[in-house]
Symmetry: C2
């Protein structure tokens, strides 16, 4: 079945929209059933061939992207957003390279995760299997279309992609290549489908179809994610805020602490694992506060601090409660001097977003306590918060970083897009 791009029909009404969404979801389910048992080598062959074709046909992609870029100011995109939207030959090559990297990763499907033989001789294996159908919603950057399709197919899942209106033409050009290469490789074309309309009602339609869709993954602004979480009838893998902390303990090496704070805050300011808040133990404040404020300012970072911070550096702006809860994604950091480790942990568990929080210390007992009591997806000891990332933690490519606790926490790579089944083999075993 070849689905028409939904947006192409000006007479579309809600009933027709619902019908087409349902047809897409059913086609995805059928494709997922086929894909679940496709051998790794065939999925990898598609990934590599699709990578080659993305580069060979980059002219088509760049032409489509040019249409999106020229329309972008009309959607209210600022220069930074347009830069994220724009593709270049090297960005297309990087997306293609991403597919080749996914091909090189181990297949989580069929992976025997645990296994053993029971005292009665029954063999029990826990084997990785795909989740099924994923509904993936995202904004802006068209290379995400490539990543998401590659991760979904490699993990044996069908995916319904719903990109932003800003990147509609780019996504359609990319999807046409990925989809035709699925067919060329004898794989189900509907394993990767693109929602061809930017009608918001289409999202609501898909979010109701828990009979056909196993997981929704929204990636974008907080309002998109909250809408999906509220409306979805299937599980949602989501990431709200990244309000990440660096806590500089009394037993920190000041040079190391400065290096980590500067890296965590300034290495890339617009990402979820960038530091947004700095906590300093009172016992090291005298040595450290002035120095770090100067180092941050040298990197153009605005510091907003507590009263005690300001007693060391009077021209620091006062931090409000809102500052401690903020995910700035900008050259701003909140700062607080805490009286001890317990206060640091309490502050992080109160204001943090359970994403990534770091301690800098050489005190083993302090690091053990921090690791045990800070309730975050990743806790870093003497390392920058920027390391909470699928590549850096060794998962390979990731579809996002989960701030949920259920199913998957932290970076979600291929394995997090799968579940498992028990395979139990006997010789005619019955229960007594």
């Amino acid at each position: 079945m070849k689905l028409k791009l939904l947006g192409s029909d000006p007479t579309m009404n809600l009933a027709m929209l619902a019908e087409q969404c349902l047809a897409m979801a059913k086609a995805a389910r059928a494709a997922a059933n086929t894909l679940a048992t496709v051998r790794t080598e065939r999925k990898n062959a598609w990934l590599r061939a699709a990578a080659d074709r993305l580069q060979m046909q980059s002219g088509d992609i760049l032409a489509a992207n040019a249409r999106d870029v020229s329309a972008a100011p009309g959607f209210g995109l600022n220069a930074a957003a347009i830069d994220r939207l724009a593709l270049t030959p090297s960005r297309v090559a990087a997306a293609a390279e991403g597919l080749r990297q996914i091909a090189a990763l181990p297949d989580p499907v069929g992976e025997v995760r645990e296994g053993g033989t029971r005292p009665n001789g029954l063999q029990v294996l826990k084997v990785g299997v795909p989740l099924g159908v994923i509904f993936f919603l995202y904004e802006s950057r068209p290379n995400v279309t490539v990543d998401a399709a590659g991760l979904a197919v490699k993990s044996g899942n069908a995916v319904i992609l719903r990109g932003g209106k800003e990147s509609l033409h780019s996504n359609a050009a990319i999807h046409a290549i990925l989809s035709s290469e699925l067919a060329a490789q004898g794989l189900p074309r509907e394993a990767v489908q693109l929602v061809g309309t930017t009608d918001r009602d289409a999202v609501g339609q898909f979010l109701r179809m828990n009979e056909y869709i196993d997981l929704a993954i929204p990636r974008g602004g907080e309002s998109l994610i909250r809408r999906v979480a509220a409306e979805a009838t299937m599980p949602v893998l989501k990431h709200y805020l990244g309000n990440c902390h660096v806590y500089v303990d009394r037993a920190a090496d000041p040079d190391m602490a400065e290096r980590i704070v500067i890296n965590a805050k300034t290495h890339r300011v617009g990402v979820c694992n960038a530091a947004e808040s700095l906590l300093v133990h009172a016992g090291i404040a005298n040595q450290f506060v002035k120095r770090i404020v100067e180092a941050l300012r040298e990197k153009k970072v605005e510091v907003r601090g507590c009263a005690e911070t300001r007693s060391f550096v009077p021209d620091v702006k006062a931090a409000s409660e809102d500052d401690y809860a903020a995910e700035y994604l900008d050259l701003v950091i909140s700062m607080k001097i805490v009286k001890d480790l317990d206060s640091a942990i309490a502050h992080i568990n109160k204001y943090g977003s359970k994403h990534t929080d770091a301690i800098v210390t050489n005190d083993l007992a302090a690091s053990r306590k921090f690791v045990a009591e800070v309730d975050s997806a990743a806790v870093m000891v003497n390392a920058s918060t920027r390391f909470n990332d699928g590549f850096e933690l060794g998962l390979g490519a990731e579809i996002g970083i989960s701030t949920d606790k259920f199913h998957a926490r932290g970076p979600c790579g291929l394995r997090e897009l799968t579940t498992y089944k028990y395979v139990v083999t006997g010789d005619g075993h019955v229960r007594n």
Copy 2:
């Protein structure tokens, strides 16, 4: 904080109910925060002491249970349901023994599930941590109160228990002992709370509190589970139907096949992993159908079959579409002769409940195909469906069997009540 039993106040209105539910949820969150870092030996000490006290104070429990049993006919319970509700000294002893078994299981909290060192020297560990607060809803059997409390506390979670109205007094007596023993052991009393009202509105209140409750687990009839799934704002670990199949392949040993079918159907008829449907390969039907119908009838099982089944045994009742979808939980089985393995797999994936399905065969290729293509939590080869059970698969005690794919599939033991965090340790690592 000591919470009053909600049902004890006849002037209770909805606002008061909401307030008391919120207070319970907040207290549970605080208890969970404490419990998350309590050492295993202290949790085990509570499990063993609570087991002893349940037996020592079994007189209180039995007296409370007698009140429930005498009120049971008024709630419309039949004799079988009253039997499940009734406690005896040996049933109390069995519940206590369950706690001691949980004490003997490994603690999933703090378990290092994966770990390694990245090329740059960063150590990355994936460490088990509790989910937080669990809202557990269940019906009838008061020993479930003991199991659920034991599993929750051992896995570091606080639990809010909401039992059925039929077992209100029994649950209150059991809860009083478990809770006072938490206090005696210096653990937070609110780690195990019992909702003291059977007001259905209380359930709705808790299901809205995703800020304080991390997981809802409904255990009971399908309508309860569907209500919870529809209303819950937090993840739900659930089990719908157990429409389990046994497929007797052409290459089955008929003796083994009979043994497995009889065990799967009749070992315990009222449980979710009992077989409800029998599929027989056409190539073995001549040898097997008459024999298995007779063997089932000898065990008082009514057989409902397809036209071809009835061509072998004419007095078999005709099976309808509804029969193939039914979870009888009774001495009834549906039966169908299928033309090949593919038809068997297609039938199971269409009518089954993704719970437990078995193949009986000595054909390795057939077993590989069945295992790969049947999309169920547990797939059994030459073994009874009855083995899909936490104890039998080696997980120890279980809180239920999940038919979901997300987070946990199949039996949910201690580890399935936890999540993980990444613990990343460096020597001042920053990203380049």
